[in-house]
Symmetry: C2
Subunit: 221 residues, 2 copies
DNA sequence: TAGCGGTTTAGTACAGTGTACGGTACTGTC
DNA sequence: GACAGTACCGTACACTGTACTAAACCGCTA
């Protein structure tokens, strides 16, 4: 005779982490507690500790899961295209999982997927002829831009095209009395324009950075 | 007759926030609890609630305090110098208070110092002749880079010149067996070199970005 | 079939968190 | 002397991560 409990999928580290990611996506990283996670998986809190040492290991694990979702760049490809693709993939992963960038600064031990990702990215730049030094510079620059963009995007109270206007307009109207004229100007003439999406700003900076890097590799003068 | 308690400085919102900043600096943002904060100030937890509505208001408040430490750019100055100076000032503030960038993505309501900072920065770009659109692009790009760099800097297990070598060397030696050759290469030929400081990477990206922006404003062809 | 040892799941308990609620002292005004 | 407002605090509650303990289940040998 099979009880209801026995029909439930068996626990596993994979399932714990996958469930943790889903929970964080739906309800925010603050809602990711051992108890809610256990409840969601149809088990009791302490059962999870058989698969993970502690909560920190869960946090490390879900960061690595985010990286595992990101397709790797191919070192033999055109470096600029590969880096542009990679940037967009990382950004979209960080938009799907807005909590991830917040964990990046706390967690120190990178997981295997994270290491593979870094390795593939570095290989692409080196294979394209970037010197070791320039590779380090370029990688720090690109990731800073991507992570920082994700931070700003996560901080926005709105998301997606045109939604900025609804949120921002009433706020801005309080400011029209002069203390912050430049912010109002940006809002009225840029952010509140129909079709505006902060995400579109990403391409501008990315192109500028990639242009700059191109100049440092190919340009003879 | 004055008791020991009466000699204590009177509480105030300012003092609560300043103490919260100091506590977070010394022991990390996780150690910033109502109880430890109260103890540090020589009071009881609930006394703080007379000056702040809740802990979120404290977090909002200390983010704004960080911005209040940053000297404002002057709109009449040379935009490139002003932006370079500002970038370094923001970065050093975020290095003094590594928890700040982590709060940025959660808190939505910017405080007065934050608003003044944004206003002065936008004014500098607009005064220099940047169009509204280009100003928005440039600001998103610059802040993304600065914030993202701070995220990476906060994630590093080491800090400052030459300390990277001590930490990284034993880790890298485990990797020399081939799975991550490019990472090892970067480590050995760049990070482990004497005098290395990740912070130095900041200037490279900043210059590249400012160069790119210059080209978009002045360059005739 | 009985018993055993390792694997997996649960129950209970504890210290620490934010903060709601209801006080208590002190100060100034009438 | 009565009253109101300011500043501060004690207690209590629901929630957190997780240590410790016990129970159930499993494939196995005898």
């Amino acid at each position: 005779m099979t009880t209801a409990a026995s029909q439930r999928l068996p626990l596993s580290r994979e399932r714990v982490l996958a469930c943790a990611v889903a929970l964080a996506d739906e309800s925010g990283i603050a809602a990711l507690t051992i108890r809610t996670l256990a409840q969601r998986m149809g088990t009791k809190p302490m059962s999870l500790y058989y698969y993970v040492a502690n909560k920190d290991e869960i946090l490390d694990g879900i960061v690595d899961m985010v990286f595992s979702e990101i397709e790797l760049p191919v070192p033999e490809g055109n470096w600029r295209e590969e880096m542009q693709l990679r940037a967009h993939r990382v950004r979209s992963a960080l938009r799907r999982h807005p909590w991830a960038v917040g964990l990046l600064e706390n967690r120190s031990a990178p997981g295997p997927a994270t290491l593979r990702h870094h390795e593939a990215t570095l290989a692409t730049l080196r294979t394209a002829g970037f010197s070791v030094q320039l590779t380090a510079h370029a990688y720090a620059l690109l990731d800073s831009y991507i992570y920082g963009f994700a931070v700003q995007e996560a901080a926005l109270p709105f998301e997606g095209r045109d939604t900025a206007a609804e949120i921002t307009k009433p706020i801005m109207e309080r400011f029209t009395t002069g203390e912050y004229p430049r912010m109002v100007e940006i809002a009225v003439e840029h952010v509140l324009k129909p079709g505006y999406d902060f995400g579109d700003e990403f391409e501008f900076g990315l192109d500028l950075i990639l242009d700059g890097l191109s100049r440092l590799t190919a340009d003879p003068g």
